[in-house]
């Protein structure tokens, strides 16, 4: 009986629009940029780099040469190698934050959207969290503990959760009244099964888009935190840390700031383009919800 009740007309936008989505220029350009940065992060040791954390007092603030393509920083570390390895921290943080925020947000969103009595309380808490500017909340959370990749991920995830909850809840509220959900209820499908099998799949397309935006935002905020000296510990090569250390010597050696900035901007640009393209092709209704 259950298989009969399963909605054959349930939307599967991702599959239906696959061709349109692959030929969208934003998806192509953004996807190419993201792929290039990810490959660079994975193949960092093969790209003519040296140990990004090796300190060489004899090589401090050297201009670009054959030994160091973009010169060296205050501690004689190779700027090019640090920038290439920096992609690892940014991508790791972007992916972890997006995954964590989506997992927690989807769980809360499904429950609050479906059970009315939880809704009032949880949404007030989400409204309150959203009233605190993201960056300030993240910076305050980081200041509570010693900086490490894990604490930065947690601090960046918490402010993003309300956005996911709101999106999932708005989808659930509309889907809950659909005939296929009523049908599932009427044949006695258990509530967890309705949530996971019938309602959850309708949120995939908008969540994919929101996930890319959260990823981009997390990378930007991590760079901002590190820039202010409150993000990742200074020994980890990250673009924010490089810009932060380089700004003191900006007038003498602007390359210390510009190279990591270029990588950072290209990465975020790529992810944003990918998100915009997915939003436009997966489902036109998504744009209204974002």
């Amino acid at each position: 009986m259950n298989s009969l009740a399963s909605p054959s007309a349930a939307p599967a936008p991702a599959r239906r629009h696959l061709p349109a989505f692959l030929s969208h220029p934003s998806v192509l350009v953004g996807g190419f940029l993201v792929l290039a940065i990810v490959l660079m992060a994975m193949a960092a040791p093969l790209l003519g780099t040296v140990d990004p954390t090796r300190i060489d007092p004899g090589m401090r603030l050297k201009p670009p040469s054959e030994l160091a393509w973009f010169g060296t920083d205050l501690f004689g570390r190779d700027v090019y190698s640090r920038a290439v390895y920096g992609a690892r921290s940014s991508i790791l943080i972007g992916l972890c934050v997006a995954t964590a925020a989506l997992l927690v947000g989807v769980t809360i969103g499904l429950v609050t959207g479906y059970f009315r009595w939880v809704d009032a309380i949880v949404m007030r808490v989400m409204d309150g969290l959203m009233a605190i500017p993201t960056f300030l909340l993240a910076i305050a959370l980081v200041s509570l503990t010693r900086a490490s990749i894990a604490t930065v991920v947690v601090a960046l995830t918490i402010p993003e959760i309300p956005r996911v909850v709101r999106l999932v809840r708005s989808v659930v509220l509309t889907v809950r009244e659909e005939p296929f959900v009523e049908a599932a209820i009427s044949v006695g499908t258990s509530t967890p099964k309705i949530l996971l099998r019938h309602i959850l799949p309708t949120t995939y397309a908008p969540l994919m888009v929101l996930g890319t935006y959260i990823c981009a935002s997390a990378i930007l905020i991590e760079a901002g935190l590190s820039f202010l000296g409150t993000g990742l510990p200074p020994e980890i090569p990250s673009w924010g840390n490089m810009i932060s250390e380089g700004r003191t010597f900006f007038q003498v050696a602007p390359r210390l700031v510009f190279l990591p900035s270029l990588f950072l901007a290209l990465t975020v640009l790529g992810i944003n383009l990918l998100g915009d393209g997915l939003r436009d092709t997966l489902d036109p209704r998504i744009a209204k919800r974002m």
């Binding site: 409204d127 009233a131 605190i132 509570l144 820039f227 810009i243 007038q251 700031v257 950072l264």
Partner: protein
């Protein structure tokens, strides 16, 4: 109308309550005992105990919250651990650069974004429209501090037309004030500008397809007036909404920008407080910024009702 305003104001009570609980817990969750930090390294156990009871730290958590919230309602944000100056005074001392920057940025972004977005929306598909969409993706992707350094490099180091860093108060003359605030304003305003321009474009474009636009054209209204009086006016609500939501973007930007341009404002205050773990100051600044954000959005909510009677259900 009055009941609409009252409902909106009442709706803020739970938001403010949640914000204050989060900010309160932030201090309570901080590592270490605040009494030990305040007492300093050489304090004996009795002094620490005295400070603890004077701060109410020996009370249950819920009682502590109500004591804290009560003094908050009287405008008492606590005292900085490091300078022993009341947090409210510290914020007031630093308010001028931040408030100046906020005003110039709002004016800069809105004055450019709304006309730009309107023209782009009315001429969708034109080169101007395409250029705007391209710049807007760039505007979202370049971090404010990166943009700040690029502008400093071009205008201060290469062309030498603007000062590199620092803030000149408006009381020292409008010229020096504007040249000190010009680069921070453009840097901070760009992302906000493209955000507003994009929404303006989208909502004007949506209105251009409506029946009342065709009617206005049919009765011979000039195209310029069709766009401004009919399309833009009806598109105002999403534009106002994004101006309000974007304030969060500005607040996050201010914190970073004041470090880039060495402006002695509230953003710089909170960054220094975080580096020193001066929790009362962090709490105070977060409360202030969240309060500003909530109030701006309340004002915008009420503004809707004036602009569009349909909202006053």
């Amino acid at each position: 109308m009055l009941s609409f305003v009252a409902r909106r104001v009442l709706g803020l009570v739970p938001v403010i309550l949640v914000v204050s609980i989060v900010v309160f817990l932030l201090l309570r969750l901080s590592p270490g005992d605040p009494a030990v930090v305040i007492a300093g390294d050489n304090a004996d156990a009795a002094t620490i105990e005295k400070i603890r009871s004077s701060l109410g730290l020996d009370q249950p958590l819920v009682t502590q919250f109500f004591i804290w919230a009560g003094s908050l309602l009287q405008g008492d944000l606590g005292i900085s651990i490091f300078s022993n100056i009341p947090v409210a005074d510290l914020i007031l001392q630093r308010l001028e650069p931040t408030a100046s920057l906020a005003v110039t940025t709002l004016v800069f972004a809105i004055v450019i974004a709304v006309p730009l977005g309107t023209i782009a929306g009315a001429t969708a598909g034109s080169w101007l429209d395409r250029a705007l969409m391209l710049v807007s993706v760039l505007g979202f992707s370049v971090p404010v501090f990166v943009l700040g350094y690029c502008l400093i490099y071009v205008f201060s180091l290469q062309l030498r037309v603007l000062p590199v860093q620092g803030f000149t108060s408006i009381s020292n003359g409008i010229g020096p004030f504007l040249s000190s605030i010009a680069l921070p304003t453009v840097t901070l305003g760009l992302a906000y500008l493209v955000l507003i321009a994009r929404i303006t474009r989208a909502s004007v474009l949506e209105m251009m397809g409506e029946d009342f636009i065709r009617t206005a054209r049919a009765k011979g209204v000039k195209e310029r007036l069709v766009v401004t009086r009919h399309a833009l006016r009806n598109a105002a609500i999403p534009i106002l909404t994004v101006i309000g939501i974007g304030v969060a973007l500005l607040i996050s930007g201010v914190v970073v920008i004041e470090t880039v341009f060495n402006l002695p404002g509230v953003g710089r205050l909170v960054v220094d407080a975080i580096l020193k773990r001066d929790y009362p100051v962090i709490q105070g600044v977060i409360l202030m910024f969240s309060g500003v954000y909530v109030l701006v959005n309340l004002a915008i909510d009420i503004g809707y009702a004036f602009l569009d009677p349909r909202v006053r259900y």
